[in-house]
């Protein structure tokens, strides 16, 4: 066992020896390059020379600065990078304190860093000062090394400049990439066409073509050119307009961007183009941003056309448009409005409202201002008519219409509207109104004439009937006359007189007809007025006698001669006398005078009758004019006598005037005729005398009241012949008086009478105690139901129509109880 143990120990020792031998051999053989030596408990490694060479190289060539410092902080070693960083030669650095080259930010201090570096490590950012004074940002890393070897601290210097600039570059590049992408996206997505052109020049340096280097997706749609990329315009559109080449050539040459609108006829398009040079002076590249505006342009032209058409229409319609800015109180207007207001049509500048108001007729200004204020305050619409008065131009009538626009707070801010020139309409309206007035006047006068004609016809019927009544009665009586020559003579004279009256009426009518047709002719001769007057007085006498009027005649002392138609002159005088008789009450007076006044013969007919109102003096000579046709007056006549007289006097070159102080104060007519000189005056003649008639009664006591003598006479004779006792009265007053005196059984009374008409008479009789039992019979020439009704209402018992039929009277008397 001991042997074995010993043997093992021996083997172990041998092995160890071998190991040691090997070690020594290896060391000797140079197979080791380092030794580990334990000194005082710590291991130190000793390397053989050359073993650290790769480290040296590594340190020398690394891109960081590396420095070793002595315990004091002086540079013991520095690598090449550090020397390059500071741009100092290597030998200038060794032995120099590192602190000389370092600028630290507060609160770091170099000694503190050194201290930290001696024991462990420290790191800080700092700046190094290079030989040219530039500052270099760095990171300093301090590490403890081997103080005993004299190299206490190692410092690594990392240059942040390159890192910074690299980061900046990277950032910039990234930004560029983002921008580029952004713009690319923009150009790819915009609706406008975009392209980059390369201009192509010929030998002379003239721009002759261009190539599309870049196009965006909208390019094809906007330009109409497909697959343009890489091709030239001449390839695609050989005959493209030169202007395009010129413009792009200029942009490429000058570098001044251009915006323009141009037509590419070959592409049938209009373009709105913005062209600018890409790159510097010698860049041949031009970028184009463009839009196809063909349709827009067409629409614009259409719009322009429409606007011009609207303007023409407004002009033709004389409508001006305006907009009133209520805030600035100014009005902007179009050419039409300017024209209407008398401004120059080319001058459509804004004007203050007052400039427009000044053009408005002074009387209308207030209305317009008020209307505007009212519209602004409360209304939403403006409508006002006014006149525009511009000096030297007739007033224009216009209508302004507008609408108020309000803001959110309800404040009126503007008012757009129109002004319509309605001058023509207004004038037309006025002339229409004028002609309407005229027509109305004509219609009125026609109506008046028509009324007068109706009146005339009614009167005519009456007048023609008046003579007929006695003629008819006389004829009936003649059959019953017992050969009494005296009675026959009387009756025939009556018939004759009434016939003459009718003839006169009919002659007058014919004359009127002739005059109105301008056919009357005078058979002129030298006429002795005496002869004329004599005939006239003769003719008028019966009528005047009938009316129981007194005629006073005063003739001229000398003979008066005129040139004229004797018959016509007679007619004039007869008409005047008849007229006087007609409008003078019974028992009135008429004065007739002929005299010479200078070179005229004046024939004056004066009466004390009903006279005339001043206003009637002018109308009295008009055709069909009767002064008063009321029942009270009841005067008969056609109303043509005076008119005829005037016409005839006018034909003789004379004048006729009517004068009256007033109603019931009489009347005077003067005919003035130019005299012929050198004739002897004729002799005077006498006037007729008033006549009164009475009757008797066998059976009844009868009162006959009628202003027409013939009718009165015939009826009286008729009744006398029947054996009645008869009293006659010439009008109502006379009738009433005689009724009281005579107390008749029966009264026959006309209705239409002067002084007191039939109705009044009847009423009066009925109101009189003593006359209660009288039988009243109305006589009327009009024979109408209304007259009958009126008569019954007035108190008449019966009513008979003129001319009075003897049989009717007999029947009436027989029927009397």
């Amino acid at each position: 066992m001991d042997d074995a143990l010993l043997q093992a120990q021996i083997d172990e020792l041998r092995r160890r020896l071998l190991e040691a031998e090997n070690t020594i051999e290896a060391i000797r053989g140079g197979e080791v390059d380092a030794f580990v030596v334990t000194e005082g408990g710590t291991q130190r490694i000793y390397t053989l020379q050359g073993a650290d060479r790769p480290y040296r190289l590594l340190v020398e060539q690394m891109q960081q600065g590396a420095v070793t410092l002595t315990d004091r902080g002086d540079i013991a070693y520095c690598n090449r990078r550090f020397s390059e960083l500071l741009d100092f030669p290597h030998h200038r650095l060794i032995g120099t304190p590192l602190a000389d080259f370092v600028i630290l930010e507060q609160p770091h201090s170099f000694p503190a860093l050194l201290e930290a570096g001696r024991t462990s490590s420290a790191q800080t950012e700092a700046e190094l000062v290079a030989s040219d004074g530039t500052h270099i940002p760095v990171i300093l890393t301090f590490n403890a090394l081997d103080p005993e070897s004299g190299v206490a601290i190692g410092v690594l210097i990392t240059d942040l400049t390159s890192q910074h600039s690299h980061e900046r570059l990277r950032e910039t590049t990234e930004q560029l990439r983002i921008n580029e992408e952004r713009y690319r996206t923009l150009f790819q997505s915009i609706d406008e066409g975009f392209c980059v052109l390369e201009m192509i020049y010929d030998d002379q340096g003239r721009c002759c073509d261009y190539r599309f280097l870049e196009v965006n997706p909208a390019f094809e749609k906007q330009s109409g050119l497909s697959n343009a990329l890489g091709r030239t315009i001449r390839e695609m559109v050989p005959d493209i307009e030169e202007t395009w080449l010129q413009i792009y050539g200029e942009v490429a040459e000058s570098g001044i961007p251009k915006r323009f609108v141009n037509e590419a006829e070959k592409l049938s398009r209009w373009f709105n183009v913005y062209a600018f040079r890409l790159g510097g002076t010698h860049s041949r590249r031009v970028a184009i941003l463009f839009t196809d505006i063909t349709q827009q342009r067409a629409a614009e032209i259409q719009l322009k056309f429409a606007r011009s058409r609207l303007e023409s229409t407004l002009h033709a319609a004389e409508i001006g448009t305006w907009e009133f800015d209520l805030i600035s109180q100014s009005v902007s207007a179009d050419a039409n409005l300017a024209r209407i207001f008398g401004f120059s049509p080319n001058d459509t500048d804004e004007r203050p409202l007052s400039a427009y108001l000044a053009m408005i007729h002074p009387n209308d200004r207030g209305t317009v201002s008020d209307a505007i204020s009212a519209a602004m305050d409360s209304g939403d619409r403006l409508e006002v008519s006014y006149r525009i008065s511009v000096g030297g131009r007739p007033d224009r009538h216009v209508v302004a219409r507008g609408r108020v626009d309000r803001d959110d707070t309800g404040r009126a801010v503007r008012m757009p509207g129109v002004v319509i020139d309605v001058t023509a309409q207004r004038l037309a309206e006025e002339s229409l109104r004028e002609s309407e007035r005229n027509l109305r006047c004509i219609a009125e006068s026609l109506e008046e004439a028509d009324r007068r004609k109706d009146q005339f016809l009614a009167t005519l019927a009456h007048e023609l009937r008046n003579p007929l009544a006695p003629i008819k009665s006389a004829a009936q009586m003649m059959q019953a006359v017992d050969e009494d020559p005296e009675q026959l003579r009387e009756l025939s004279a009556l018939v004759n007189r009434q016939a003459d009256q009718m003839v006169r009426l009919i002659d007058d009518l014919l004359d009127v007809s002739r005059i109105s047709r301008g056919k009357i002719k005078l058979r002129t001769a030298t006429v002795d007025l005496w002869d004329v007057v004599a005939v006239a007085l003769e003719s008028a006498a019966p009528f005047i006698d009938d009316s129981k009027q007194q005629l006073h005649v005063q003739n001229a002392k000398e003979a008066l001669f005129v040139t004229g138609d004797a018959a016509r002159l007679t007619q004039v005088i007869v008409n005047l006398l008849n007229n006087a008789a007609k409008y003078t009450p019974a028992a009135g007076e008429i004065w007739f005078r002929v005299e010479r006044v200078e070179n005229e013969a004046w024939i004056t007919v004066r009466d004390n009758g009903i006279g005339l109102e001043k206003s009637s003096l002018n109308k009295i000579f008009e055709m069909f004019e009767q002064v008063d046709v009321s029942k009270e007056r009841g005067q008969s006549g056609l109303g043509i006598g005076l008119s005829l007289a005037k016409t005839l006097v006018d034909l003789h070159g004379g004048t006729i005037v009517a004068e009256s102080p007033g109603v019931n104060q009489g009347c005077r007519f003067i005919v003035k005729l130019p005299l012929l000189v050198g004739y002897t005056p004729p002799e005077e003649i006498d006037s007729g005398q008033p006549v009164t008639t009475n009757g008797e009664s066998p059976k009844y006591r009868i009162l006959v009241v009628d202003d027409a003598r013939g009718i009165r006479y015939v009826l009286s004779r008729m009744l006398v012949k029947m054996g009645h006792s008869v009293v006659e009265a010439i009008d109502g007053e006379d009738g009433y008086r005689k009724a009281i005196e005579y107390l008749p059984d029966i009264v026959f009374s006309d209705i239409s009478m002067p002084n007191m008409n039939g109705h009044e008479l009847a009423q009066k009789i009925r109101q009189t105690e003593t006359l209660q039992n009288i039988r009243l019979v109305a006589l009327t020439g009009f024979g109408q139901d209304a007259d009958r009704q009126n008569a019954i209402e007035s108190g008449f018992d019966e009513h008979i129509v003129k001319p009075v039929d003897i049989k009717v009277v007999e029947r009436l008397l027989h029927s009397n109880p």
Binding site: A26, E31, V32, D33
Partner: protein
């Protein structure tokens, strides 16, 4: 530093529990001095030998004595490069750059080295 290295060492399986029966697992440590030429040559020799003769049955640790001076001290390394075989026993140290391949093989007692 040392502890972390120890920790990183893979667990060494028991000799008799070797995966292929009678072939023992070699635990080898090669101490070198950074990247000196001899160190590099020694590393090259050992990685070559291991892959050739000891595939799948070796743990080769290469230890820089600069970085782990205390480890070198524990293993009583005095020069570099040094190869230390701790298993299988006996413990063997080979000093030098291991340029003699046969000698290395025989020293380590690797089978088939004859």
């Amino acid at each position: 530093m040392d502890n972390s290295l120890n920790d990183q060492r893979p667990p060494v399986p028991a000799w008799d529990e070797g995966t292929d029966g009678g072939s023992p697992r070699f635990i080898l440590r090669l101490y070198v001095t950074g990247m000196t030429p001899r160190s590099l040559r020694a590393i090259a020799q050992m990685t070559s030998i291991c892959s050739e003769y000891l595939p799948d049955r070796h743990d080769l640790e290469i230890i820089d004595i600069y970085q782990h001076p205390s480890l070198a001290s524990q293993d009583q390394i005095i020069a570099s490069p040094t190869l230390l075989k701790t298993s299988p026993p006996p413990e063997i140290r080979l000093i030098g750059e291991l340029s003699n391949r046969q000698r290395v093989l025989s020293s380590l007692g690797i089978a088939g080295s004859e």
